[in-house]
Symmetry: C3
Subunit: 371 residues, 3 copies
């Protein structure tokens, strides 16, 4: 049994007193694009990070800003991207063995396409070369949890889309091949074929032994944000993966398989619970996981990979609910804090990556036909 | 004929659907000073640049902030100037041959007067020495467009006021003499005596040949912001030029000549069009050029160089219209994007230098008697 | 007689036209915690400093942010602290002989407790070692004003709490002993036993000679913020001083003695005047001094050192008045500018350390029972 879930029971009860997502005022008159601008403005005014402004939290946020700019062409997003990159000297965070630390380079790669000579891609190249092609303890697999380079499912959002984007810009396919090798390792280790979902890491795999972690309802623990990282990362990856790449269908099929399951388990109010298969555990919608899911499903529709008729109602329902999690000052609430498993959020809990998930969702929703 | 104007016809039609400048609410209750503070606050919260925070776009903006502080003595402006300078390590941008890159030093020079030991003027001095006194390809004049150091009229805003301010603070007149030499070259090359306006660069000079660029109404292309750079730059320059400087009258006469023409071609609603002699081309007022003109005309009145009775109505009309281009959140819209020739703006187009032009205009308008 | 007071008489009359503290709207619906968040948000959007972002003005502000975070656990405060420290590379300002320059390290020391490996404490340690244990002219006492290391009473806020916090974290008691030696020197030099208040520095000590500075009502000049630095600093210091430290009672007794006097001279409207014993000189409440006093008195109650029944009404009255000095956009006004003696403030005068004093006050007020 999962002991630490009990630790948060009291917190959960308190946070549920707020009921589910609903912002300060009953009605919010912003357009979707205005809501995205407000979210970004609030986040820019409240910089936050775990270890540094180049870490994965900002990485995920600025992928959202990048997609918001691409979708709206509003220069207010591009200005934020350029300022961030300039201040960070276009550097990834320092640990070349840790997939988290390259997520920020997605934004750098995009800004590079907006003006020649503005971005220094050398630090990104050096990081990727070390990460993909140099030896490291995790690659050797002697640690019980860290058995492979990308031993936790979040990594599939952090590194693969950056690698595919880099390969697309430079035409160097050996980066894609290396990426695919590591991706398959993670897939083989953590994908649960029965449930069509990813375990966060091997600690959450169920083997029938005494140490198995299970939800109170007896289900396996599938973390919403963890699966959001994977499905959202797949959408980003597929966008830059050449259609004729030999492994393209592997990714597309995985995307469709997961998308279908995610749609099927969507709660009635539109937002996924932190523990996907134990929705009654913490009964409120959570924004970071839900944002990534909404982004991915809408991206699938917009790119002809998911059936519009089937998926659009789920996307619209989710987006409407996400909009209600945004406060009147632009802040996006109901974001689960940094973690590795289901823990409740509340109306006032925010993080930059939650804003990023909101922006990603919005960037595809506004492209939906008739929306 | 000017081919690229056609490219923007569709955009123009769209932007005109917004009608001319008018902000979100019908009425705005801010005082002029409050409007200036709001403009600065919005801009500080939305940093933007072309290549770096020390580039000309920020240079023009922070000249506006400097003048706003001098006019209002509100420390909220000084705080922004100091923070900017500290973060930029009081450095100009890197190209010592390019006038754009020294504009930011105007603010540094001012901050230097507010507290001893706070500002490092060494980078500014080194930049100026290289720019004025070292050889460079542009000075040799072998390029068809870049025939002189300051081959584009914008340069007259970027460098001369900084040089005059530096000479005033250090008493080193050789900087003024060097400045005058380069200024005269630009004047000789680009000033159109018939029209009393500046061509943006030699590509816009009309020679009667096949390659002449003309507006659709047959007029020459005189870019509003380009002439705003010159006239605004002249006002800044005259402020620091010693009255007994041997060339003082050259600058004063040029200022009066241009001011008179600019006043005469002011559209009825107060704001100049992007193409000064083709007001029907893009029929909306544009803020960056208009802001610089308004600043210059008001400065001329406040300094006894322009006749108050004659010029004040034009200034008041322009300022009222500029105020209407500011949104309720402080953002100054209707600013033409970075460019080198007339292109339409719209209600939502903003740039830091547009905010700078707005602040410059306000800084002189609030000094007008009876205002 | 104090000549320079006359210089500000005209300013005083003007500022009094605003009446005392009262914000834009008649009523403000924020909770105390919301008011603290708004104050911090405004300040973060308006960075200001005297010489650098690591100077004492930011030092005092971020001590306020630290206490606000500790009291509310709202991560919005912690995010600001981390961003600030990261940008400043966890460095104190440069003068190792000047107590002002270590105040910023209080925030670094706190952030260090929130995540291992995030903060580099080496610069703080090096600064303290030089300050406490290396020779310096001020320690030799040849200057008529700068006779001791901490020759001005503000220093007792800037350095001792940082030293006590550092000693508490490292267990190195020799830092405390060195601190005590310097603190006693300041106490011996500047504490006025008759009045139970501190002279700002020896220039304000009254010796019966011709050069004595006195208020117009004949009283000695006791600067509100100066004494606020001392009393607020004592509260911070006592929090980290081991209860069994041999000199603990010295600090506790000094705290109680000053607190008692400060309470007794509280003006009816709740806020102390800039010159404590000449309340009719500049008749308005001032926020920085009052904020530090309110913090200290509330801290004394919350820690069982001051009698709740006796002191709580004074604290509540002061806090209510402080709240009225906050504008509707979050800005905390009525803060006396940088100085060393009583000078009037006004509704619109703000400084980061004033916001810090407001946050300190709020951080203890929200802990009061029944509040």
């Amino acid at each position: 049994m999962n002991r630490f879930l009990n630790l948060f029971s009291i917190i959960a009860v308190i946070s549920l007193a707020f009921s589910s997502c609903s912002n300060d005022s009953d009605e919010n008159v912003w357009t979707d694009k205005e809501a995205m601008v407000k979210a970004m403005q609030w986040q820019e005014q409240h910089p936050i990070f775990a270890v540094a402004p180049t870490d994965w939290t900002n990485g995920a946020y600025y992928i959202g800003v990048t997609k918001a700019y691409q979708a709206t062409q509003d220069p207010i997003f591009l200005a934020a991207l350029r300022t961030m990159g300039y201040r960070n000297e276009w550097k990834p965070y320092v640990r070349t063995y840790h997939a988290d630390d390259i997520a920020i380079s997605y934004a750098y790669l995009f800004v590079h396409t907006t003006r020649r000579g503005l971005v220094d891609l050398e630090p990104t190249k050096n990081w990727l070369d070390a990460h993909l092609f140099e030896p490291h303890a995790w690659k050797e697999g002697n640690d019980p949890v860290r058995q492979i380079l990308w031993w936790w499912c979040d990594a599939l959002f952090m590194a693969p889309p950056v690698i595919a984007y880099y390969a697309q810009q430079t035409g160097q396919m050996e980066y894609l091949d290396a990426m695919h090798g590591y991706f398959r390792e993670t897939y083989d280790l953590l994908f649960d074929h029965e449930e069509s979902l990813f375990a966060r890491d091997v600690r959450f795999k169920v083997t029938g032994g005494e140490s198995d972690r299970l939800e109170e309802n007896g289900e396996k623990i599938f973390w919403s944000r963890g699966n959001g990282w994977v499905l959202g990362g797949l959408a980003l990856l597929l966008e830059d993966l050449p259609k004729d790449y030999k492994q393209y269908s592997f990714y597309e099929e995985l995307f469709v398989t997961m998308a279908s399951r995610i749609k099927d388990i969507q709660p009635d109010d539109g937002l996924w619970r932190v523990s996907l298969l134990n929705p009654d555990g913490f009964e409120h919608g959570e924004v970071s996981g839900s944002g990534f899911f909404t982004f991915a499903l809408a991206w699938g529709i917009n790119n002809g990979i998911l059936n519009e008729e089937e998926y659009k109602p789920a996307v619209i329902k989710a987006w409407k609910a996400l909009r209600k999690c945004q406060h009147d000052d632009g802040m996006v609430g109901w974001v689960q804090n940094i973690g590795d498993s289901p823990v409740p959020a509340n109306k006032d809990s925010w993080q930059n990556y939650g804003t990023g998930a909101f922006l990603l969702a919005g960037s595809e929703v506004i492209k939906l036909s008739g929306n």
